[in-house]
């Protein structure tokens, strides 16, 4: 079957070449009068005849029921020389009568046949080059269209995200290569509330990008004076529906958050449900409705949720839940909820989700659809204190006391508080001595705050340009035997006193981040 199909493809292509090739050659033979090109039809018996002809074919002498042959005769063609290379007829050379009006001699024919034998491979190469150029142009056009779609899409995503005091808003957006139609938008409204939208346009490429751009614009415009999510979606649906291309629609989740109270109102037009991650787990907020742009006059239902300090609202698109793993199973909403429930809180949450996705899909995964992830996190209590202490020995006690006072409202159990105090004192001592080299004028900055379900204390010195000394794990026996310095307890103690110690340097500052999980504390 393959052989027949291949042969047929060649036959189909041949007439076009046969029509292109002769024009120039006829002009050579009869420089004064160009002949019209003669096309040989796909099913014309002249084709197989020329394919198998051993040399120049005398048109007048040929006995064949062929319309092409008739056309050639009436056009005054006397000789046809098939151009054959590798058994394939790639063109023909048509010659009119000799200018001397004599018949073509045997020498003439030999000369022409030699010419054809040499011209055929060259012509074949030229044809291949032409084909490749055409393919390259087509590829380029496709790539260009892809770029245009990406540009449109990127242009309609927010450059900056509002960060209401006490909240952290983050988004991760990664388009699939073939540009889907994901979008998100988060804007602060004039009344101080924050409107958020996540959506997905069916279809891909430029059309999807255009619809995405239109939807985002209409959403934003309507959001200026409509704070009720259900009414807003109804209005946007009517506006979009009139102009929506056939078979296209947009899923969209739209909501409004009051950062002062944590109250969220939202409505859903067929999009993935938002997930609220709390200390107790990660749960979807239910809300359903028809996608935008399908039918006019749709009504949507407003749903609300009350977030508490430490809670985190997560919006997402199909690209995550519908990603396939190495075993072809889908990532799925239950797994996403599981990952969210166990993920780090605050700003690290999105990274944890993406890490989990990467682990699930494997390293060779080609992203199937756009990925959009938005996190709106309420710091519980936010910043509790921020102060500086001069770099003088003994000042760590001040840092310890002030942090202890600041975190008092959290009600840490006594043991946890004592441990934190020791950790703060040790980290501040390190900052004073090793970071700031006991220079009183160089301050140590101490901040403490609640981030998600964590209490985070940061102690910053200005020794970021020096590498942090690696200390050996203290061993009392070795110390007593004089094999290890009696000192070197600081870092070890800090590590033992808090749930996590993270040390970072940025060239100027050096920061020790002490993390205490508040939930474990409460359960302890």
């Amino acid at each position: 079957m393959t052989t027949i199909g291949h042969a047929f493809r060649r036959v189909v292509r041949r007439p076009q070449r046969a029509a292109d090739a002769p024009r120039a050659e006829i002009a050579t033979a009869t420089p004064t009068a160009a002949m019209p090109a003669v096309e040989i039809g796909e099913h014309d018996p002249l084709l197989p005849y020329l394919q198998s002809a051993s040399g120049a074919v005398d048109v007048d002498a040929l006995q064949l029921e062929s319309s092409a042959l008739r056309e050639l005769r009436s056009a005054g063609v006397k000789l046809v020389i098939p151009l054959v290379t590798h058994g394939e007829l790639i063109g023909t050379l048509y010659l009119g009568p000799r200018l001397s009006d004599q018949d073509y001699s045997a020498d003439d024919r030999r000369l022409l046949e030699n010419l054809a034998a040499q011209a055929a491979p060259a012509l074949h190469v030229a044809q291949l080059v032409q084909e490749q150029e055409a393919e390259a142009r087509e590829r380029e056009r496709f790539e260009h269209e892809l770029q245009v779609a990406q540009l449109i899409q990127q242009h309609f995503l927010p450059l900056t995200l509002p960060q209401p005091p006490g909240w952290s808003v983050q988004a991760h957006y990664r388009p699939a290569r073939a540009v889907g139609g994901d979008f998100y938008d988060i804007v602060e409204r004039p009344d101080g509330t924050v409107a958020f939208a996540v959506g997905d346009v069916t279809d891909k490429g430029v059309p999807a990008a255009m619809v995405m751009a239109a939807t985002r614009s209409v959403l934003r415009a309507a959001g200026q004076d409509e704070a009720r999510p259900a009414e807003l979606l109804a209005r946007v649906n009517d506006l979009l529906q009139a102009d929506m291309p056939p078979r296209m629609f947009v899923t969209c989740l739209y909501g409004v958050l009051d950062p002062a109270t944590g109250h969220v109102r939202f409505a859903n037009a067929g999009h993935n449900l938002p997930i609220v991650r709390t200390a107790g787990g990660a749960d979807e907020l239910r809300a359903t409705g028809m996608p935008l742009g399908l039918l006019p006059g749709m009504r949507y239902v407003e749903t609300d949720a009350q977030l508490r300090p430490g809670d985190q609202l997560v919006l997402h698109s199909d690209g995550i839940a519908e990603a396939h793993g190495t075993g072809r199973e889908m990532f799925g909403i239950p797994r996403l909820r599981e990952v969210l429930a166990g993920a780090a809180s605050g700003d690290r949450l999105l990274g944890d989700v993406l890490d989990a996705l990467r682990a699930f899909t494997g390293p060779d995964w080609e992203q199937e659809d756009d990925i959009t992830l938005v996190s709106i996190a309420w710091h519980s209590g936010g910043l509790l204190t921020s102060f500086e202490v001069p770099s003088e020995p003994g000042r760590e006690r001040e840092a310890m006391r002030r942090v202890a006072d600041a975190v008092a409202p959290l009600g840490l159990p006594g043991g946890r508080l004592e441990k934190l105090k020791t950790a703060v004192a040790e980290a501040t001592m390190n900052a004073i001595e090793h970071g700031n080299l006991n220079r009183p004028e160089v301050p140590v900055l101490v901040t403490a705050g609640v981030e998600g379900a964590d209490l985070v204390v940061r102690i910053r010195d200005e020794g970021g340009d020096r590498p942090i000394a690696i200390t050996e794990t203290p061993d009392v026996a070795a110390k007593l035997a004089g094999e290890q310095s009696p000192r070197g307890w600081g870092l070890f103690l800090i590590q033992q006193m808090v749930d996590r110690l993270r040390v970072t340097s940025d060239g100027r500052y050096h920061t020790a981040e002490l993390v205490v999980h508040l939930e474990e504390t409460r359960h302890a």
């Binding site: 006690r397 004192a425 009392v476 110390k479």
Partner: protein, 111 residues
Amino acid sequence: MPDRLTALLRADTGGTPVIELEGEIDRDAEGPLFAAWEQVPAASARVVLDFGRTEYINSSGLAILVQLLARARAEGREVHVVGLTDHYREIFEITRLVDFVTLLPDARAIA
């Protein structure tokens, strides 16, 4: 800078020398601590460190306690410890200092 630690040597009812540590054990504790240790009678094979009035021990203070334990070992003396708060008792455990002292249950036990 005034010493933040007062180390007072007394003897308990059984005649065992007790060093009462009142205040903060940090890098400045070396002087008072070792001064008290010097006064321990030469014949005493057992010395009690009483942390009942110790408010704060930091890593520098731990280093000095390690030096003291090294000296006690060189002198062939046992060190008993009493009066640690739960927090500092945990630190003695985490640092394995407990392996080289004898923890007494309560300050009243030796009073």
